[in-house]
Amino acid sequence: MEKHFEELIQQVKIALIDADNDHQLNNIKSSFLGKKSELMNMMKKLGSLSADERPRVGKQLNLTKQKMESLIQQRAHEIEKLKYDRTIQAESIDLTMPGLQPQIGGLHPLTQTQRKIEDIFITLGFDIVEGNEIEDEYHNFDALNTPPNHPARNEMDTFYIKRLQDDSNNRLLLRSQTSTVQVRIMENNQPPIKIISIGRCYRNDKPDRSHSPFFHQVEGLCVNDNTTFADLRDILSYFATMMFGNDIEWRFRPHFFPFTEPSAEFDIRCFSCKGAGCSICKQSGWLEIGGAGMVDPNVFDAVGIDSERFTGYAFGLGIDRITLLKYRLPDIRILFENDVRFLKQLC
């Protein structure tokens, strides 16, 4: 009898060797453990055994049943693993093939520079205001302390608008610098004022690699009780550091603007040659970024701000120029051609 049990287990083992799917496994299960299986028949016959034999044989039967079940269960796990392995195998793929990338575009290099500048000055508590590009002579020149015969007023330098109405005393023009915004803001607000304005300006230049008849500036203006030249130096120093890096060197160079006194040009150390002299900085070792100075009392007088009580600084920085320097562009005109190969490179 015991030998027979052993044999049954052996038979199950042999049957399981060839089973490699769920269907086969189910067949084995029903033929060895099902209602009509030998084992079940033996169980049914248990009742007819003597009371002496019954517990012993019963126990044997149960052990055999458990053993068979565990063998089948074990095989079931193996088949599961086999199936899993086959799936993994089937799904294997050449992962060096390209993924489906979203097609994204980007912002124009000038916009990128503009945003960077905005963010720097927003951090410093400046407000951002917008101003008109079509201005009048008064706001572009007179209010900015530019004498009537100043050469900048010349048609060779400034674009004038064909008259829309009789404006012979105060012609419309395209602003030649963003400083017009200073005048507009101070006409309508008393200090404290702390603003920047970013926008397009125009000068009647023939386009070449470093000139464009339209260009972009950021104008800054800060007017308050105790605004000093030191504050101006502080702000522009911070700007230079944020824009060009911690180790940037900068300097003020005395200069003349009609609307500031004292006036200065703002230079940074050439980051290409580090001052040794190269073609970018025209061998000077310095790059000019913009102009700055303390607001001229005449400008305050023109807009009705007490020039004894208040002081202020103003600056104007060239966005195109900064962009040119930052991206090492050889020619300003490339910015406005809008060749997508150029745009994609820098966005």
Binding site: M97, Q103, L110, V129, P213
Partner: protein, 824 residues
């Protein structure tokens, strides 16, 4: 920290509104968290003062008494169960047939004896939760007086937050001192008596740890009578929500609340060998506190002990075995100071929170100890009787008062004020800092003019006229937080008023920026970038000839372009009135360079003449040519068409403002007929999008299909500014989807159908998605088959099949009413 307005009035003559006082406190650094009017009048309006003229035991009960009470006009008989209903007691009486809150007191027979009213406890009247007997009122109270005239008629309780640097404000006196300084009032300091000729008993206190206990002052008072505190004292404690215990304990609490410095009293006869030992606990020592809890002490804890055992955890809590009871005859009164770090560590470890521990944790002044001890002694002798027998003051290193020099120039520099030395002195003297010296600028800088203080005091020198270099103050002992010039400057600004200092404008100023405008502009450019568009920037100068390609009507605003007097060339003689010609030129250049999948946008100004005024406006224009999605080895290419552009722009504008819609519109002359849409906000046209007419594209030398959009960005930025999002409840039940198909006339618009479907039930229909359009086999001419997916859900529960079916039927019904449809 709590204090009552009434109590405050003991020290200062206050005559301002509660709101004003609360503001003054808050703006001087004592933040008022609550001001509460106590409410108990509704319960005492019918209650009168009455005197018990006789008391006898109830014949049928040992716990009841029969009292005859006089309420001023008559004698009433009341049955009372309180143990304190003694003859001669003045108490609160409510006669029969009056209301007490919601109930009515009635004549009653109590165990066979008539009772004509009720004698009340404070709890009965909702005055406090004290239910230990009936109220005992001062003997001065007249019988028949309404009770509300005896109790303080109004109690207003202030709750303030005291910052950890100001332990001096943990007493009502300290608060009063600050208020006096703020409001420039004089402070009535309580009289501190002095006791002379008392036996100094060095054996009374054995202070073994001067570091943890810098001062310990004990007094022995013998022969006290411990009983309920007098009415006024109970009232004071009640007004700040402290429960009265007995006269000794109440007095120590009262002084603690007044000075902010705790005291403790022990039963002298329960202190073994009559000696107070201040020492560290022994490891393993246990302690049963007044709160009936057991604590395991460590050798870092400071205890007050007798010769055998701890009787208190120093500064935190006393033990149960030595506390004051009605049997107490002799007491030891402790006034001391303990190391605040040690107190904090022990408190935190043992998790005991007492009013005493709270204060000792904040570094109190040892100097106050003698004042509070003398003041408490006076009250005890007065209220409890007894005799001060002996004392011992262990105070090995008395604190030395520091001085600080203050330069008015420095004060004014930091605060941006213009205060004179006089004003500064005035502020500081209010805080009880003492002026000790004034240093003047002299021609000889080495010459310190030490005599100036005398001259000022004698009136010979007016310092406001002099150039004061510095003023020197001695810092009062209870302000341990003040030790430097800058600390003094803080005190000055606190009293002067933070909000009187003007802003300089270096960071605050007129706000000129519309931040929303900037953010929206950036969002729009970013959105288009991430949708595959490259930004272009073109010249403002334009060519008249190219503008004419667009075949604009004569009255089109773009036709009213602005011309230059002195243009650079004839192809740049006007200012652009549209961004489209520029962007089309960009497109041509790039097509010529064999670039494909071109998506470009420009965000720039256009210029035109409106009624002889030069207008500048921001516009947003864009262009799409080629594929919407590029070739990929695995996925299908999607060609750009009107729907790819429409989808992008719709999504963009939905982000700006979800009220923006689009509608078919052929009014733009350069758009192919039937391929143009206008963008609308209400009735306002914001722009358009569509397919560029192929003939016009040809003018720009472009052969392939081109899709364009042009939007008035000024309008967009205006309406994006008003858009603010607010949370709406999320439907917590799952969505159900049902598809419906039907055939309908081609001339019926999809938008119209969707509107009709949604109208059926706005609550349940969350979305209607078009999932298929079919034209062809089995569909009659000029008709199409449409399939919609209804997304349904309810915030009331999961939708049942029945509800869904009814809804779908209703949708079909709604459609059939409006159109001729055939279900599929």
């Amino acid at each position: 920290m709590k204090f009552s307005y009434k109590w405050l009035q003991n020290y200062i003559d206050l005559n301002i509104s509660h709101q004003k006082l609360a503001d003054e406190l808050t703006f001087s650094g004592i933040e008022v968290e609550a001001v509460n009017q106590e409410q108990y009048f509704q319960y005492i309006e019918n209650v009168k003062v009455a005197e018990i003229i006789s008391t006898q035991i109830h014949p049928n009960s040992n716990n009841l008494f029969i009292c005859k009470v006089s309420d001023g006009s008559s004698i009433k008989q009341v049955v009372c169960g309180a143990s304190n209903c003694d003859e001669g007691l003045k108490t609160a009486f409510i006669p029969a047939d009056s209301t007490l809150g919601d109930s009515i007191i009635k004549n009653a027979m109590i165990k066979g004896i008539k009772s004509e009213g009720m004698l009340c406890s404070e709890q009965d009247l909702h005055i406090s939760d004290n239910h230990d007997g009936i109220i005992s009122l001062p003997l001065s109270a007249k019988n028949g007086t309404p009770l509300q005239d005896v109790y303080e008629s109004k109690n207003v309780l202030y709750e303030v937050e005291i910052t950890p640097n100001r332990p001096d404000l943990l007493g009502i006196l300290g608060i009063a001192r600050d208020i006096a300084a703020i409001l420039n009032l004089s402070l009535q300091y309580p009289q501190i008596p002095t006791y002379k000729g008392i036996d100094h008993d060095p054996n009374l206190v054995d202070n073994q740890d001067y570091h943890l206990c810098p001062r310990y002052l004990a007094k022995v008072i013998k022969g006290v009578n411990v009983q309920e505190s007098p009415f006024w004292l109970r009232e004071k404690l009640r007004s700040v929500n402290i429960k009265p215990v007995n006269n000794i304990v109440d007095i120590t609490n009262y002084i603690m609340l007044e000075f902010g410095h705790p005291l403790h009293a022990f039963d002298y006869d329960l202190i073994k060998d009559g000696k107070i030992v201040v020492r560290k606990a022994k490891s393993g020592e246990t302690f049963t506190a007044l709160n009936n809890k057991n604590y395991d002490l460590q050798d870092t804890d400071l205890v007050i002990a007798d010769s055998t055992k701890p009787v208190a955890i120093a500064g935190i809590i006393g033990n149960i075995g030595s506390s004051i009871t009605k049997h107490t005859k002799n007491i030891v009164l402790e006034a001391a100071n303990f190391n605040y770090v040690s107190i904090r560590q022990t408190t935190n470890r043992l998790k005991i929170n007492t009013d005493s521990a709270y204060r000792f944790q904040r570094n109190l002044s040892s100097h106050t100890v003698s004042d509070i001890s003398d003041r408490a002694t006076e009250l005890i002798l007065d209220i409890c009787g007894g005799k001060l027998v002996s004392y011992c003051d262990s105070y090995p290193s008395p604190i030395v008062q520091k001085t600080v020099k203050i330069r008015p120039s420095r004060v004014n520099k930091i605060l941006t004020t213009d205060l004179s030395a006089d004003q500064i002195i005035n502020y500081l003297e209010k805080l009880e800092f003492q002026l000790v010296n004034v240093g003047l600028f002299t021609s000889d800088s080495d010459n310190n003019n030490n005599n100036s203080i005398q001259e000022i005091k004698s009136g010979n020198l007016n310092i406001s006229d002099s150039k004061v270099n510095y003023i020197e103050f001695s810092i009062t002992h209870f302000r341990k937080d003040v030790s430097r010039e800058i600390d003094i400057i803080e005190e000055i600004i606190r009293l002067y008023g933070y909000n009187r200092i003007k802003t300089t404008g270096s960071s605050s100023r007129i706000i000129l920026t519309d931040k929303n405008r900037l953010t929206s502009k950036r969002m729009i450019a970013d959105f288009l970038s991430y949708c595959g568009f490259l930004e272009v920037i073109n010249s403002s100068f334009a060519d008249k000839k190219q503008l004419n390609f667009l075949e604009l009507a004569d009255n089109d605003y773009r036709h009213s372009y602005i011309e230059l007097d002195n243009p650079i060339g004839s192809d740049s003689s006007i200012l652009r009135s549209s961004l489209l010609p520029g962007i089309l030129q960009n497109l041509r250049l790039n097509i010529n360079n064999k670039q494909d999948n071109l998506k470009l946008f420009e965000l720039g100004r256009v210029y035109y003449d409106q009624d002889n005024m030069a207008i500048e406006k921001l516009h947003l224009s864009g262009i799409v040519a080629g594929d919407h999605r590029k070739y990929h080895w695995k996925y299908k290419t999607i060609k750009a068409d009107i729907f790819t552009v429409k989808g992008t722009i719709e999504k963009l504008l939905e982000k700006v403002n979800d009220k923006i819609t689009s509608k078919p519109d052929d009014s733009q002359p350069f758009l192919q007929k039937g391929q143009g849409l206008s963008l609308l906000y209400g009735k306002k046209i914001l722009g358009f999008m569509g397919k560029l007419d192929p003939l016009i594209a040809k003018q720009f030398e472009i052969e392939q299909p081109i899709y364009i959009f042009d939007i008035d960005l000024e309008e967009i930025l205006l309406i994006s500014a008003v858009k603010e999002k607010h949370y709406k409840d999320i439907i917590r039940y799952p969505d159900v989807e049902r598809d419906i198909s039907f055939i309908v006339d081609r001339n019926i618009d999809h938008a119209d159908i969707v509107r009709k479907i949604k109208e059926t039930n706005h609550q349940l229909i969350q979305d209607v998605l078009l999932i298929d359009e079919f034209i062809g086999k089995n569909i009659q001419v000029n008709h199409r088959s449409l399939t919609y997916r209804l997304v349904l859900s309810s915030n009331k529960g999961t939708l049942t099949d029945d509800t869904i079916q009814k809804l779908v039927d209703k949708v079909f019904n709604q459609l059939s009413v409006n159109y001729e449809i055939k279900k599929r």
